[in-house]
Symmetry: C2
Subunit: 760 residues, 2 copies
């Protein structure tokens, strides 16, 4: 099959123009005639009993149509797991917990109505700190709970105690990885209509079909009469997996019979969306004197917040994934999920894996330091390799860790810089593993489906149920279909997530799209191509043909017709019926067993990241340069793949040195606005050098593996290792703020003045 | 195959609730952020040279963004045939001809800008009257035209002259059937966006894919990047076949890069949309003394208006179709299409056939009168029958004319009333033929395509490229799919006309949907059912199953599962991929040859209509009762079929006695508003008795034939025959207004006082 080579070329983003010109329509841009607007009342207390709710004054506000309370709902069990609700009835469990939804003719009336609701609370003691909440003496986060321990995972593989006992070196430390805001720029917003027995919801989501299911479940509608209509998405990063906003908009539409809109404020995004999971980590690694990593022990406390939305699932990933980076003979991991009186936590790019790597990759450097090995040497010795099964059950096909290490060393100037930088400057590295999608947590299956349609006008459309969340999926899928049909990406339309048009999808997460969905699109396009070529042979009366450069060609290379004209003729010959190619891909992947063992993905991406930094006298940590090298199997679109590196590294840079989502002693966020929650700007971002290692994995389309999450994973650990190189001290809690650096410096001076036996 | 019987049951309209509650979204309801608005400047003269257009003052109006003139267009050749344009450049040819399109930030600014445009005209003589315009001495309707005769059709079959020479009776008269407004309640409106190289147009249309083609042609876009998104449609009746509004909205969006809206006023609908074709008819019929109709001669003058939009196509139908009602041995028909300086004319329900029937069915009664036969007797003797080829080439399968006649006689009380009513009261009848779709005029093909999809949630969706224009097609297609899948109509979603989702369609016209599209949906649903049953057998490991009442059942009748759950399991087993059934139907039909001969449709519906009326002393014609009996093959939804009868009869009632679209001597409409254009209200509508004859045609789904247009066809003729019975006079021009009745009465009195030899 001869084709244009569009795979591996940097096609322009198919949705780029709309975004840069402002033409892209986001959910809040939608206006319907007779539309009603909603406003939520949230709890101002981290933990309280609701003694009474009085809505009379709210209903008296001109323009207010109704106030929806818990008792008005068809079903109140919220999206996610265990015990959460759409609207609180008797008790509120975090600042931001939803209590009432005011529906009004306009936003001002809704707001005024919300302020007129009178709620009497009995304030209760709150469990605000993660490790304290885990203790038996902590106040319960909900009055029905005997303990705040929500879930304990305990995965033991091999003779951990024996290996620790015989080890030459054991290193250990306590690490803190706090909760983060995903900082998607577009607050959640949804518009719903309920017409002729059909509920239609316009919104942003990573999980259109799961949302459809939740909409049906929570409204009592048959799922077959619920439609979700995707709008442009202003960032996701995991924050659009479990969403109350579209469900509440739907309830407003059903209750009023009018189109309804609900849009969060930025403050609501901080308080009432789902930030990432805080981790408190005790980890230790045992090694022999040759530097072989033998075993690892780990105890995570993870903050589920008030309810378990996705905290448990994040904990599973943290408990299992990172182990496949090295040839551990034994591991013991306890993941203890804790309820607190804080916002329920959920997914954030990396999904527990940056947390695990922050601890593990710090400890690996500590082993190297103890053995006077270099960070390069200890990693090279212990990395897993291709075509092997790791200790956690991952069946690793391709594995470019060694090549990534070589390239990272080369590109970062490691050899010249390591141990050679002036005081206050340091260089450090971290390796990483991730998965291309995940069988875990998807009860249905981990596969993907695609439809590629060609019709009479020559229009070729890819229909997939996933989301374009900025990662460039639309463009990648257009490239794949174009490659198979002898076209260019701009010749392909891509419709994503419309539940009436697209095949079912489990969602857009776990870095799965290029690999899993890409295969489905590949197979669908091939299926379509076969149908088209057969029809052409019939209609034109020729022998075998192939598609190239927008033309149909005879086997001898002669042009028979344009593909556009051939499609017209072939579709006319079948009364206008289009050609519909269907393709599915179901990776050979496992649900993890009760011991967290199993190969969850089609294949596994790897990487090595190097951070070079300066610790200023002021205590400010200035990251000078990040080198980020990734085994992504194959770069289908190198420019966009590089964009993933820039974006992931920048986010990781932000939480490594700047971003904080702290709570004060009442449970109020100290940073509930983007002014206080310090995101990096373009002026802050360090120099980033990205590079790829192409291992051409046998299970991905054209050899591709994942790249969506990997660039965020190793940066904090590499920065911690670089900080150690610069200062001789180890920071075990992000962000590395000037306050924390100055305190560490004072602690060191104090320790130097008051020597004690070293603990490590 | 056991199923619920949903065919023949009166399912509730699936789109009814949206319409009666006001929830239905029409094109003008759409709002986009940053939307711009358009306003057209029209010619105030029926014919003039444009000497200059100055837009400076318009551009100076605050909020005006641009003014689009003919020279700014990519392509100016308008929709439809020969010589028309989107925007006039040098010459305007009717009052309402478009000259300039003002684009502004809001509607008021657009309107003010439109009024500020300065145009200098040189007024030219206008050709306003149809027959006068046909004469060589008429001023030309366009300076480039040597004659206003646009087209002459001349169809001769058999020895017409010989049969007329040997006839015992020859009757002839001159008939006038004036132009009408289709009176769709929703003015044309369109919203367009141009984003990321894709043009998307939201509007109402009967021909989504033809519109897509025109949008591409007139904007220079590749057709594959143009999307048309159907909105609810506030009536069509033929008026939404050729539409400038969506094209102009698209041009606004492309020029400004912003969403754009253009909505007609009601006045613009009268002046600038396409009213129906005026006919001036000279017709004669020759018969022998036994009352056998031998031959027919006919000369039509038909008004194309300023350009040929669909006038020629309407003339073709008038020249050919009605002949298949009787066993004529020979016919000679001349159709002379004339350009005038009036609005271009196009389709209106019936499409030339009410005009032809008005003349022919009046003459048939005149033959009967001359031979002292009853209207029943002469028709019964001459009707075509089943399984024959008519003189015009129609291959008639089923033909229920005799049964329709029997039932109409019975239901109307004909036997008691004919010749027995008091003076001033009369009863009359007319028979009719129409076609279920038409091969004529569709260069691609006359067939239809449908996709029926079943997916994991249990949602079953019919995708078709036609329009729901109020006729109930959505409900009929839901019934057909439900019947085949063992469900109820409300279990089926129907998506119509979305060019990105639906298979290509030639459009919604010619009463073709139930028959042609119905078959396509039937075959698609059967194709889907076969796929689902095969998958169920695989997933459940059973033998043969069938679908009934929402369940999957074993051959022995035992319930295996719900269909919804079975779809979930089967779709999960294929990674979420839906089942997609495709079906096409291409009737064995011909393009007419150059002599207007050929069988254009899958099958042919027939009917007999009886009108009973009173002529008041004031001259007012009061239609007391209409009996309308139709051979529709099979009533798939009797209640909605009855609705077609009520609607068609009411429209025909309106133009028979009330509606007028007259021009004054300047070419200005005397009725350019709905206040002056007298539509019947509910208080005017006569008692209507509808009935069906079910002939179970072998070529329609479940035996169905067309019913969309037939009820409008015979009413005017039956009223003319009833008027004759009441008064002894023949009215040959509609509407039968008091003025016309009083004039006829005076003419009669004058003639009785001044007797002359009778002309007839």
């Amino acid at each position: 099959m001869k084709t244009n080579q569009v795979i591996g070329a940097s096609a322009r983003r198919v949705d780029g123009q709309a975004k840069v010109t402002g033409a892209a329509q986001f959910s809040d841009d939608i206006r319907f005639e007779r539309m009603v607007y909603g406003k939520l009342l949230h709890s101002p207390y981290a933990h309280a009993k609701i003694q009474s709710i009085s809505i009379e004054k709210a209903l008296a506000v001109p323009g207010v149509l109704t106030v929806i309370l818990a008792d008005d709902l068809y079903e109140n069990k919220d999206i996610g797991e265990a015990g959460s609700w759409l609207l609180a009835k008797d008790e509120v469990c975090y600042i931001g917990d939803r209590i009432a939804l005011v529906v009004a003719e306009d936003e001002d009336a809704a707001e005024e109505g919300m302020r007129a609701i009178e709620v009497e609370y009995e304030v209760l003691p709150a469990a605000l700190e993660l490790e304290a909440a885990a203790q038996p003496q902590s106040p319960p986060s909900h009055t029905s709970r005997k303990t705040n321990v929500a879930k304990v995972l305990d995965f033991l593989r091999g003779d951990v105690d024996g290996l620790f006992a015989q080890a030459d070196v054991v290193v250990q430390d306590h690490f803190v990885f706090p909760t983060l805001h995903q900082s998607h720029l577009e607050p959640n917003s949804a518009v719903a209509t309920y017409v002729d027995g059909e509920l239609t919801v316009y919104c942003a989501s990573q999980v259109w079909f799961r949302l459809r299911h939740d909409l049906a479940r929570l409204t009592g509608m048959p799922e077959s009469r619920v439609l979700v209509k995707p709008q442009h998405i202003g960032g996701a990063f995991g924050a659009r997996n479990e969403q109350a906003t579209p469900v509440l908009a739907a309830i407003m539409a059903i209750k009023t019979g009018r189109p309804a809109k609900l849009t969060n404020t930025r403050e609501e995004e901080f308080y009432n969306a789902h930030p990432s999971v805080e981790f408190q980590i005790d980890m230790s690694i045992a090694a022999d004197k040759e530097g072989n990593l033998l075993a690892k022990r780990c105890h995570y406390y993870t903050d589920f917040g008030a309810y378990d939305v996705a905290g448990e699932s994040v904990t599973w990933v943290a408990c299992t994934r990172a182990d496949a980076l090295y040839r551990f003979q034994a591991t013991h991991t306890i993941g203890e999920g804790i309820y607190t009186n804080r916002a329920p936590t959920a997914a954030y790019r990396g999904y527990g894996n940056p947390q695990a790597h922050f601890a593990m990759e710090s400890l690996v450097d500590m082993v190297a330091q103890r053995l006077h090995m270099s960070p390069v040497e200890i990693r090279r010795k212990n990395f897993t390799g291709p075509n092997m099964t790791a200790s956690n059950g991952y069946r690793i096909s391709s594995n470019g860790l060694q090549e990534c290490l070589d390239k990272a060393v080369e590109l970062s100037g490691w050899a010249e810089k390591y141990n050679n930088l002036p005081p206050g400057k340091g260089i450090g590295m971290a390796a990483l593993i991730h998965a291309s999608g995940s069988r875990a947590g998807e009860k249905e299956f981990s596969g993907g489906s695609a439809i590629v349609k060609a019709e009479l006008s020559g229009r070729i459309t890819v229909f997939v149920g996933e989301s374009e969340i900025g990662q460039g999926c639309k463009t990648v899928m257009a490239q794949i279909a174009a490659q198979e049909l002898g076209l260019q990406p701009q010749d392909i339309a891509v419709v994503m997530g419309d539940t009436d048009q697209c095949p079912f999808s489990t969602g857009t997460h776990g870095s799965k799209l290029t690999t899993v969905l890409g295969n489905a699109v590949l197979f669908a396009a091939q299926n379509l191509r076969a149908q088209i070529m057969e029809a052409i042979q019939g209609v034109y009366g020729t022998g075998a043909v192939y598609l190239e450069g927008g033309f149909v060609k005879h086997q001898n290379g002669q042009v028979l017709d344009t593909l556009e004209q051939a499609l017209y003729r072939c579709c006319v010959a079948r009364s206008g019926q289009p050609f519909i190619g269907q393709g599915t891909f179901a990776p050979e992947a496992d649900l993890m067993d009760d011991n967290g063992y199993g190969s969850v993905a089609a294949n596994y991406p790897f990487g090595v990241q190097v951070v070079e930094l300066t610790v200023a006298p002021s205590g400010k940590v200035i990251i000078d340069r990040v080198t980020s090298v990734h085994d992504l199997g194959k770069a289908i679109n190198p420019q966009m793949a590089m964009g993933q590196i820039y974006g992931g590294v920048t986010q990781a840079y932000g939480f490594t040195v700047m971003e904080q989502n702290g709570l004060n002693e009442q449970g109020l966020l100290t940073g509930g606005t983007l002014l206080e929650y310090k995101l990096p700007t373009m002026l802050d971002v360090p120099e980033i050098t990205g590079a790829f290692v192409e291992t051409n994995d046998p299970y991905g389309p054209y050899g591709a593996k994942a790249l969506g999450e990997p660039p965020i994973i190793g940066v904090a650990a590499a920065a911690a290792n670089a900080y150690f190189a610069a200062t001789g001290q180890r920071l075990t809690q992000i962000p590395f703020t000037p306050q924390r650096v100055l305190k560490a410096r004072r602690d060191l001076e104090f320790a130097q003045k008051n020597p004690k036996p070293r603990k490590e």
